[in-house]
Amino acid sequence: MPVVELNLSRLQKLVGKNTDKKQILDNLPFLGLDIESLGRNVVRVEYSPNRPDYSTDFGIALGLQGILGISKGMPRLKIRTKGNYEIKVDSSTSKIRPFVTGIIARNGSLDDEAVKQIINMQEDLHFGLGRKRKKSSIGIHDLDNISFPLKYTTTSRDHRFVPLNSTKESSISEILHDSEVGRDYGSILGQSSKVPIITDAKGQTISFPPIINASLTTVTTKTKNILVEVTGIDKQSAEDMLSVVVAILQGAGFQFSQLKVSGSRNSTPNFATRTVTFDSGPVNKILGLNISNSVLASCLKKSRLDAVVKSKKIQCTIPRYRFDIFGGMDIVEEVALGYGIDNLKPAWPASVHIGEKNPTSEKLDSTSRLMTGFGFMETLNSTLTSEQTLYEMTNRDSSQIISVASSKSQEHTILRDSILPGLLENLSKNIHETYPQKFFESGIVFSKGSPIKETTNLACVTASEETNFSEMKAILQSLLRIGFSIKCETKALSNHALFSQGRVAEIIINRKTVGYIGELDSKVLENFRIRTKVVGFEIKLSGLIFD
């Protein structure tokens, strides 16, 4: 989950009405914000990826005002349509990044902390909703250095301008090759010879989306008026993103003017709200509550939505930036949050059910009970293991190996096809402990087969100077006889990578080979640095004691 760092006294001021810090800290979790760490005046909270408006203290303040009852209902959004702010879209963008949208925000002020919060929001939106800038990305500019109308068009890779945080001109190719953002996001543009660009009426470059802004429009703490542009490959996602930015900037005290968007497939964003009408019945039913329509409407308002009761139904209005609300169940959640999760009391369902363990679990339980009864300690190993343990140290055939892609851990790269190598590793790690040592493990092993087969095996080992083949065969026989009334035979096997020649046998049940038993080969033991004698067996339980 993403994290945002909040300054507590600033948040207090934003929430208003003399709220104290304790009230704020107590209520953050009931907005779904987990406190990750708490300093004297700083709190770091985790927020849900579906609530990018909580990526700033402006958005969180809105939410707190709601559940604390300081300010309820949907924040009204006013956008002036007058003014000559326009961006014209050239059709050449349609092949590479077809959509642009934006807004003019004026008469605000951004101190250091506000800039920090807005950068956090931008990063969140780029990562989540923007799918690492691929789907959509934002540029925020100082309005006062820009002449309208703007043009969203394409240019060649030798086009030059001064990028953000730089004082000298670079070409697009240089930016893509030499800067960190260029290398991180350049692949979004593929091999296309033309790249998207936003220029102003004077022909100055102001942005090279989705990579970097121009230095010309750098936002500082002196900035009062800004232009926000969002470009992308999906119109709705670009407008979703813009609506979050607008909601946040409104919280920061900005006033808005429309940015007209014209050109193929593009249009001026309208931040239309949605209205849904529903009965309180199903909402009460699923939550297990019985609250009146008016209380229900008030819960929604505490969640910063608008709600009125009209002819026994609830009419709920959802602001544009709450695109996380898909349907009815999302409304149910908003009611629950407004009602207060702490006020939902646990109940006990009336219906009666009889529970049952899975037969496989039952059988594995009795196997484990018998094995511990025989004096074997249970160990647990990963099914995702390494080539070294599974094949190299055991000299086993690795032609049927099943690997995972791009594992972050060297010790976990392939799926095990046998349990015994893991038990040898367990013995190897315990050579300083007292002997005899007896281990067993039951679990899933994998093999190839349309496309992959999973079976449950049981393996066990005894390590001691005095142990021998017959001791192990006695365990195997007794386990199968006592536990499952199965008779087994052992048939000499000429060789097996794990075991010593002349001291290994196949385990045969109903004329089928189900496993191997024997004395472990001394070279294998040497690889695991084990200095005592080891005997063991591995047997397939699937198809034997369960399906």
Binding site: M1, G32, P346, H353, I354, K357, S361, T372, V404, P451
Partner: protein, 479 residues
């Protein structure tokens, strides 16, 4: 208080009461007999190991006092052994000049590499020789026929063994000479009876009684792995709460692991860096054609992108047990059910004290026309009560395929803080509807290692998979 003594203890007490003190050293009071453990072993014919155990038992019963003593003993070094055989260098010097005075050179060549200067110095100090200056150089002559002196007596008394020796001048001076005497330091335990011990009448002790209060050694049981012990407890608790267990494969198609749960194909959770994909393995049979069509439509409508069936075929190691649950519900479409699924799940993470690539998860679902969110909170509270966690509260949270979503917080007395445990929520209609599931599905569950860590007081989750025998033998449940 009457005492029950083990046979070993009786023999030790008997020996100490016999009152022999071979070294005749005065103890704190003269009537106390003190013996070294080695002597006790020699006298009683018990092994040192038995003596040590017996003395420790008696000490705990306050019948004996044990004091540590450092003992010095001495043996002859290379030069000492030579002196034992051939006499001290000064004695050999005197023997040379007994009949007539000799020059330095004559003596030096006869003493074969012995320390000539030391020999002269000691012989002179003992008053055995005179040094005369003549025209042909200095000559050494006999002053008086020497008798055996204390240095020589000491050397012959040590002989070729190791001896305890009272401090004396000769010992000091011989130790200053190189390689004559070697000192050995030995730490030993000196055992004596306490006042109570002295008055024990061994004859009157009941000979058949055994000491039922004595300490005993630890024995190790073969046992179920602590993590599996917790897994079994959780499985049993689900069954007690009326849930029936379902199982499924660890390897799954992306369809059931992601697509069926409304996770869009470009979602970050589906990337290689979070999920283990099985190299070049694709599912042969995904689902029924209707299931595939409906899921595809739900994605197109909800997320507005081109849904690719090839992407859904890629095989992954399941990232949660929810894939098993959802497939069961999609195939069976029950109107009423309580089912649960438990087992290993996988995440492509860096292994650390709190993250594993492979861990266990449990997930239960309740399906029913009349089931409510409060009911699910109640079931969960009862679950925690059964496994010994009584302080529970709920917070809102986010899960991609449930709405509303809650997380439960459980208070841990030992750590003195609230800990996030299981999550819960109602499956989104975007998940259930395309699969033909019409009744509400309420789900709850989470990682099991976390609960096992609380139970076994661990703060590093890797310990469960280290299979360290000393830990497996001794791990104890703390709640």
């Amino acid at each position: 208080m009457s005492h029950v003594l083990h046979d070993i203890e009786k023999q030790i007490v008997k020996e100490l009461q016999r009152g022999a003190d071979p070294y005749d050293e005065p103890g704190p009071d003269d009537s106390t007999t003190r013996l070294y453990e080695e002597d006790l072993s020699k006298e009683t014919k018990l092994s040192m190991d038995q003596i040590r155990r017996g003395v420790e038992w008696l000490r705990q019963k306050k019948l004996v006092d044990v004091s540590d003593s450092t003992d010095n003993s001495y043996s002859l070094g290379k030069n000492g052994l030579d002196a034992l055989k051939n006499g001290l260098p000064e004695r050999r010097l005197v023997n040379l000049v007994k009949d007539c005075p000799k020059t330095f050179d004559e003596i030096r060549s006869s003493l074969h590499g012995l320390d000539f200067n030391a020999a002269i110095a000691h012989a002179k100090k003992n008053g055995w020789i005179n040094i005369e200056k003549t025209d042909t150089g200095s000559k050494i002559s006999l002053q008086q026929e020497p008798t055996q002196n204390s240095d020589e007596r000491l050397i012959s008394s040590i002989g070729d063994s190791s001896q305890k020796i009272a401090p004396q001048e000769s010992l000091k001076s011989l130790m200053e000479r190189p390689d004559f005497i070697i000192e050995h330091e030995e730490k030993r335990k000196l055992v004596s009876l306490t006042e109570t011990g002295k008055h024990i009448d061994l004859e009157k002790l009941d000979s058949d009684a055994i000491d039922v209060e004595a300490d005993v050694p630890h024995v190790h049981a073969a046992r179920i792995h602590p993590l599996n012990d917790t897994i079994n407890e959780i499985r049993d608790t689900f069954v007690h709460l009326g849930f029936t267990e379902i199982t499924g494969n660890l390897s799954q198609s992306s369809f059931w692991n992601f697509d069926a749960l409304f996770t869009p194909q470009d979602h970050p959770a589906r990337e290689l860096q979070d999920t283990f994909y099985l190299k070049s393995l694709n599912a042969k049979q995904l689902a029924t054609p209707t299931q595939i069509k409906n899921v595809s439509n739900a994605h197109k409508k909800g997320w507005r992108y081109y849904w690719d069936v090839q992407e859904a075929k890629k095989m992954v190691l399941r990232t949660h047990t929810t894939c098993v649950t959802i497939k069961h519900l999609a195939d069976k479409k029950p109107d009423e059910a309580r089912i649960f699924s438990l087992g290993r799940v996988f995440r492509n993470e860096k292994v650390s004290y709190k993250h594993l690539v492979e861990f266990n998860q449990v997930e239960g679902v309740v399906v029913g026309k009349h089931i409510t969110l409060r009911d699910l909170m109640g079931i969960q509270k009862e679950f925690y009560r059964k496994i010994g966690l009584t302080k529970v509260k709920f917070w809102p949270t986010f899960f991609p395929y449930t709405e509303p979503s809650l997380q439960s917080m459980v208070y841990n007395e030992k750590l003195g803080k609230w800990i996030e445990l299981f999550g819960m929520g109602i499956f989104r209609p975007e998940v259930t509807k395309p699969l033909g599931i019409t009744k509400p599905v309420l789900a709850w569950g989470g990682g099991i290692e976390r609960i096992a860590m609380l139970k076994f007081g661990l703060d590093d989750v890797r310990e469960f998979y280290n299979n360290n025998l000393s830990w497996l033998r001794t791990a104890t449940k703390c709640q």
